[in-house]
């Protein structure tokens, strides 16, 4: 019964997504084809990757508002690297972007760990700093498609068994995160630190260090997303993905990851991101202005947090025992 209760959040979300798709399918059956699904998934891939990183951070009772800025900076550096040295192998460029993302995450993590500054303040600060650094690097100039090498732009679109590399990468990240969260001490430590930081200390878990690693993780995934974003949209400038940090948090909240820490799952983060992805892709299909997307996701966040809060509500302690049970 408890297992059912626990799975509830994810199942609820699956039901919600299916209902949403069914609703759309009633009038626009064309939306419900494997090809269309693959397209929606591919389009949501970057959000999924980012939501996985944010999930780790939120699980430890922190928040990372700097993910989108990190993405923009790492993406810009990847693009600059590519324009400066077009011959550089793309995997190396990706590694550099991920390493830079990790470094930026480490800065957040260090400030949270070593100085005990509230995470929201730290990442609010680094959000503006990281984005400002892009301007310092580029003087506000754009890097356009024609300046990037073909290999740089082509990789995410490259088909592998009929599925684009972008989708493969997000699937890989989901698998890796699933492994990290369920099969490594670090993954379990994320839950412990967020669930009961006080108790975590007693079990020999270093709360600050665990949070630091969560930020490294979110930073690295933001770095990877940076390359993916810039290569997919074939443009890099100061404001790419501006405000996207809120979409990432929205995906997590919708996915049932508790902002109070300790509760959440990889499946939840993925489903939360997919839910937003379905809405975004469905709007043009059902002839609703894409401008409505923002209001819809706002409404969904509020509904999701209300539903989650109800599910999380602690069971009252039952003191009163009926006469037969001594």
């Amino acid at each position: 019964m408890m297992a059912k209760l626990l799975k509830n959040r994810e199942i609820l979300l699956v039901v919600a997504i299916v209902a949403l798709v069914a609703l759309i399918a009633l009038r626009f059956p064309a939306f419900v084809t494997p090809a269309s699904f693959a397209r929606v998934y591919n389009d949501t891939s970057i959000l999924i990757i980012l939501a996985l990183g944010q999930m780790a951070v939120i699980l430890t009772r922190c928040i990372d508002l700097s993910m989108a800025a990190n993405l923009a900076l790492s993406g810009m550096v990847a693009a600059m690297l590519n324009t400066a040295f077009p011959g550089l192998p793309i995997p190396l460029v990706i590694l550099v972007a991920m390493a830079l993302g990790c470094l930026l995450g480490m800065i957040n993590g260090t400030l949270v760990w070593k100085l005990n500054i509230p995470p929201i303040v730290v990442t609010l600060g680094t959000l503006t700093i990281y984005r400002g650094l892009i301007f310092l690097l580029t003087d506000g100039k754009w890097i356009n498609a024609h300046e990037m090498s073909d290999a740089f732009k082509a990789l995410p679109r490259l088909g592998l068994a009929g599925v684009p590399v972008l989708s493969w990468l997000s699937l890989l990240m989901i698998a890796l995160m699933f492994l990290v969260m369920s099969r490594t001490p670090l993954g379990r430590a994320f839950y412990a630190v967020g669930g009961n930081p006080h108790a975590a200390v007693y079990t020999g878990i270093d709360v600050g260090r665990t949070r630091f690693f969560a930020y490294c993780l979110s930073g690295t995934l933001a770095g990877l997303s940076g390359y993916l974003w810039v290569s997919r949209y074939a443009v890099a400038y100061v404001d790419i993905a501006a405000g996207f940090e809120l979409d990432i948090i929205a995906a997590c909240v919708i996915g049932g990851i508790s902002i109070a820490g300790g509760i959440g799952s990889v499946a939840g983060a993925v489903l939360g991101a997919l839910f937003l992805g379905v809405i975004k892709n469905a709007l043009p299909v059902i002839n609703i202005s894409p401008f409505a997307q923002m209001a819809i996701s706002g409404t969904v966040i509020i509904i999701a947090v209300a539903v989650n809060a109800r599910a999380e509500k602690r069971k009252g302690r039952v003191i009163l025992r009926k006469a037969e049970a001594v």
């Binding site: 929201i120 609010l124 600060g125 400002g132 809120l246 706002g298």
Partner: protein, 334 residues
């Protein structure tokens, strides 16, 4: 135990005099910083000390500061409101829409303030009525309010505000004192009195330090918080009137990212982001500092985004430096 050696009776009211308390406060440090920046600016640019230039400089913080006063109270009470910039957008859109229907200036003001109040009420009801965490709720309403604005406007803009409406953002109350700056001073006094001199303000501190104990002590926690979100909404509506009037047009992207600047201003002013402490004089000084830095950089032709790096660094360092300083002192003591 610890305090057993202290004398049992005749406990003095205060150990330190008023002077000592003020001298050791965060606000004094901010004042020193503000003066240093003021002097730095006057040395760096010959144009800085001109009264009209200084008056112009106030426009880049007055609107944010109005919201920051209410936000300070919200943050002291242990909550946060990230939807303020979106409320500006929605209120501005509503006013712009009304203009197309030929509404006059007083009605526009009422609409701006009314939309702000309604948005604040939505936040307040979700947070205090349903007991949801304010950070998530206001991230949601942040999307919702601006999203509504996008639905109405898309990539269009509203213009054609009546001439009399321009006074709120462009008019002068007396000599170099703009309407906005006068309003800023007035609101600073009102919020200062509200927070520091009334029972309501005391309740705000009590909630921020220990919500449960405050409830047990008879503080009407939900009501106080609801009022705080109403106030923030109202201030965002007011800021929307000023900003719309100053710009003379409404786009859905109006005031984008302001919520972060407002929170930065509040935190820089010495308000603890975790709630429980902070003062209005601190926020006023922080507003002046941010305004002068922006203006000074502007005079030196430093682009706005570089300025934002500076603000980000400032935000982190004002919190980090006291911590590092304390650690260094402890290390020296050992």
């Amino acid at each position: 135990m610890t305090d057993a050696h202290l004398s049992p009776r005749n406990i003095p009211d205060r150990l330190q005099g008023r002077g000592a308390r003020i001298l050791k406060s965060w606000e004094s440090l901010l004042l020193v910083v503000a003066i240093a920046i003021f002097l730095g600016n006057s040395l760096a640019s010959p144009y800085f000390l001109d009264p009209w230039n200084l008056s112009d400089a106030t426009f880049n913080f007055t609107e944010k500061a109005m919201i920051a006063f209410a936000m300070a109270l919200v943050i002291i009470s242990g909550e946060i409101d990230l939807s303020v910039a979106s409320i500006i957008a929605l209120a501005s859109t509503a006013m712009g829409y009304a203009v197309q229907l030929g509404v006059d200036t007083p009605a526009l003001v009422a609409i701006g303030l009314g939309v702000g109040l309604i948005c604040g009420m939505v936040n307040g009801l979700l947070i205090t009525g349903l007991g949801l965490p304010s950070i998530v709720v206001t991230i949601g309403t942040m999307s919702l309010f601006r999203g509504l604005s996008f639905i109405v406007l898309g990539d269009q803009a509203f213009t054609g505000y009546p001439e009399s409406f321009a006074w709120f953002g462009q008019g002068y109350f007396w000599w170099v004192f703009s309407f906005e700056f006068t309003l800023f001073v007035l609101l600073a006094v009102i919020y200062g009195v509200l927070l520091h001199k009334t029972n309501f303000g005391r309740a705000v501190y009590a909630i921020g330090n220990n919500q449960t104990a405050a409830l047990f002590s008879g503080v009407r926690v939900a009501r106080v918080k609801f009022i705080l979100f109403l106030l923030t909404g109202l201030m965002a509506g007011l800021a929307s009137i000023c900003l719309t009037s100053r710009l003379g047009s409404t786009r859905p992207s109006i005031a984008l990212g302001w919520e972060l600047e407002v929170v930065t201003m509040v935190v820089l002013g010495g308000v603890n982001i975790l709630g429980g402490s902070g003062t209005i004089p601190g926020v006023v000084l922080a507003a002046l500092i941010m305004g002068m830095v922006t203006f000074g950089f502007g005079l030196l032709n430093v682009p706005g985004i570089v300025m934002s790096i500076f603000i980000g660094l400032l935000l982190i360092s004002v919190i980090a430096l006291p911590i590092l300083w304390q650690r260094a002192r402890r290390r020296l003591a050992h």
